[in-house]
Point group: C2
Chain length 428, copies 2
């Protein structure tokens, strides 16, 4: 793709938090960078649940990669899906395009894992991309529409039952948001059903919600969700998902909508390079985040298994991916300058903290020197997320949307669009 | 659906401009209204072209019907697709739901017409609904992405050719907007192609653009588009659409993207009632907009052929549909009060004027006492469209988006989402 002669060629696969940060860290380096992504946009995953619950539009949380990097003249952006990497001849193959590299950064993220039951995917979609989010929005809104015209009380109850699988931040945020949609946004708009009677279940296999947070904050989240009407079921393992509901904790729960927020598995980076992966599919990388044996190939973000203190793996957070991207960009820049490799420090992860929002005026914040809950936590969460959005326009639109929603209880993106890719008819 | 005993039941099929206005006109009537639509939202069609060209998000121009009518207590909203109408037993059948009626309003609008060549639809999608608009947006943005990585100059040129079929308001608006996307929004973001060299063709079968407007304004529009780099080809009949381009005026033009803005045909209202239709599929209605022979069934908006002065048919405009909806709501209210039918005046259409925007600071406005072009026309057009949007939130967000775009040349919704329903790969 590049024809610059002697300048080292850097290919970055994936324009998520890690990939973009790696590209930016190479801003002043004398290299030619190609960023390849199968989408044309960078998606701000931490707010996808707000798209799934009709609070924000896709365009509020996603921006064209090409535009984000337009001013960085050493970057070319290619929209294509990578099929294979030839590590011997150092070529990335994507939709018939060959991208030769001197340095390769694999930042392909993670996708949902159904623990070997991929057939559950069609009944219980996850929330990793924009299309997932509009699909989930579609299912949630259609469930209420179908309940309004349901013939039997049993159908109505099933349609108005929402099961969220997984009690991490995404599960907590989805459960809280669906409760708000039902009790606040939709309540006045129906005639035959009362959306406030919707049953929202949050199913967590472990003993408590938000296991990455201190117990006190888990307890706070459980309490806050229960006050909003969410049934929190911990130590409840989901053993099956069907078109009628979920089997969990040994019994079958009829549910019209299931949202998967449980497991993730790393994308194909490991398979492409032949590198050793852990059981979540992450490539076990060297201290400089390179693939052992392939010193010019790096894996970062959710696709990498990086150990930090006491054998803990760096968590799959945006902040972690950014740190790795910045680090790898620095390593490549140093190597391109022919600095001796021995002078490069190993990657060190600095955990900045954990946040999860629960609902209106309620969030948990766990930073090193700051623990917040309730209104203060929620304000902190809001400000942090606005700050991390890309561009003034999105910041303004999202802040306006949140203020509007806060004041009116209305959500601006209550559209049932597209068609259901699973062919599942929640009402039939 | 209703169980109110003696109160007359009104069923309205379609919640476009006409159907909603009919429902609202029955606000104080002692009737039970059911509004049935296959979508959950009302779509502001005049701004769909802005969704198709990444200026606005779908949620900016579409609102949940249920919410729009939430406060009108005599209305029930049903999301379902009508399959048939039994005019003998007075029942509408929709997705297994039976909706009995005393009065029926058919406000099902129009859809694209390919003049008997329905196979063109997959190569040349039209612009009637939200999903059409995001699909067209997808195709336009993907064409530039594919051009950026095209192997041959011929492929690149084909991918960067956009053919818009039909020189009415939608065609003019699409051509102008695509020119702006190419020359302003995308220009700085590509490395190998220069989006400003995109070729945009506007193909019109008749002798001039905007035939509903005076010749002077047609000439103005042609001139303005040509200054923006659009090639306007009038008296050019499209005789074929394929995956490689369009055949027009006797020659084949290679084009990566085709947008259909030519013909429309009324929806199935006529087929459902057995009424006589004109060649565009519109039901030829009686002076009170009822179906001849079925005095309790009305057809309004784009689905109806209503004659006004000198055998002209009322045009397919939002304003016309609203006038018909208001009128029919009044007729039903009067009949429900048992006012004698003889006292009801026939429907009289009042043409308020025509507007079309061409691009930044350029629009044509043709009202009875007001003819505007250029900046003044554009400001008038903008204010009118903001005014007619539903709800303070949308007005604010759209006004902000336009102001932002005016100042920065950027469009906020440059996302390639969903998958191409035709299976067509513009780049392959």
């Amino acid at each position: 793709m590049t024809d610059s002669g002697a300048r080292p060629r850097v290919v970055i696969i994936g324009a998520g938090f890690g990939g973009l940060e790696a590209a930016k860290a190479l801003r002043r380096a004398d290299v030619d960078i190609t960023v390849v992504d199968r989408q044309n946009y960078h998606c701000f995953q931490p707010l996808l649940y707000q798209v799934a619950t009709a609070a924000l539009s896709p365009a509020d949380v996603a921006w064209p990669i090409r535009h984000m990097l337009a001013r960085q003249r050493n970057v070319t952006v290619v929209m294509a899906e990578v099929q294979a990497i030839d590590t011997a001849s150092r070529i990335v193959r994507a939709d018939g395009i060959n991208l030769p590299y001197d340095y390769l950064v694999i930042a392909t993220g993670a996708t949902h894992s159904y623990f070997g039951h991929e057939e559950w995917a069609m009944y219980a979609p996850g929330l990793k991309g924009i299309d997932d989010a509009t699909q989930t929005r579609r299912r949630i809104l259609i469930a209420f529409e179908r309940a309004e015209v349901a013939e039997s009380e049993q159908d109505r109850q099933r349609l108005m039952t929402f099961a969220i699988v997984g009690g991490g931040p995404t599960g907590v945020e989805m459960a809280g948001a669906i409760a708000e949609v039902a009790c606040q946004t939709l309540a006045p708009d129906f005639r035959r059903i009362d959306p406030r009677t919707a049953r929202i279940l949050l199913l967590e296999a472990g003993p408590r919600l938000l296991p990455a947070l201190p117990e006190r904050l888990s307890a706070y989240a459980t309490n806050a969700l229960e006050r909003m009407g969410v049934q929190v079921l911990t130590s409840t393992v989901v053993t099956n998902c069907t078109d009628r509901g979920v089997e969990a904790g040994g019994r079958f729960i009829e549910a019209g909508t299931i949202v998967w927020a449980a497991g993730v598995v790393a994308s194909a980076g490991g398979a492409w390079t032949g590198a050793r992966t852990d059981k979540a599919g992450r490539v076990v990388v060297a201290p400089d985040l390179s693939v052992p044996g392939l010193e010019n190939v790096f894996v970062i973000g959710d696709a990498a298994a990086v150990t930090y203190t006491q054998d803990r793996i760096v968590p799959g957070l945006a902040a972690a991916a950014k740190q790795m991207g910045r680090y790898v960009g620095g390593v490549i820049a140093a190597r391109a300058r022919r600095t001796s490799a021995s002078s490069i420090e190993p990657f060190r992860y600095r955990h900045q903290g954990d946040l999860a929002t629960i609902g209106r005026r309620s969030a948990v914040v766990n930073l090193k020197h700051l623990h917040l809950t309730g209104l203060l936590g929620w304000l902190f969460w809001s400000v942090v997320h606005i700050y991390f959005l890309i561009g003034l326009r999105s910041r303004f639109v999202v802040a306006f949307s949140w203020a509007w929603q806060y004041l009116t209880f209305q959500r601006g993106a209550r559209l049932i669009t597209g068609s259901d890719s699973s062919g599942r008819q929640p009402g039939s």
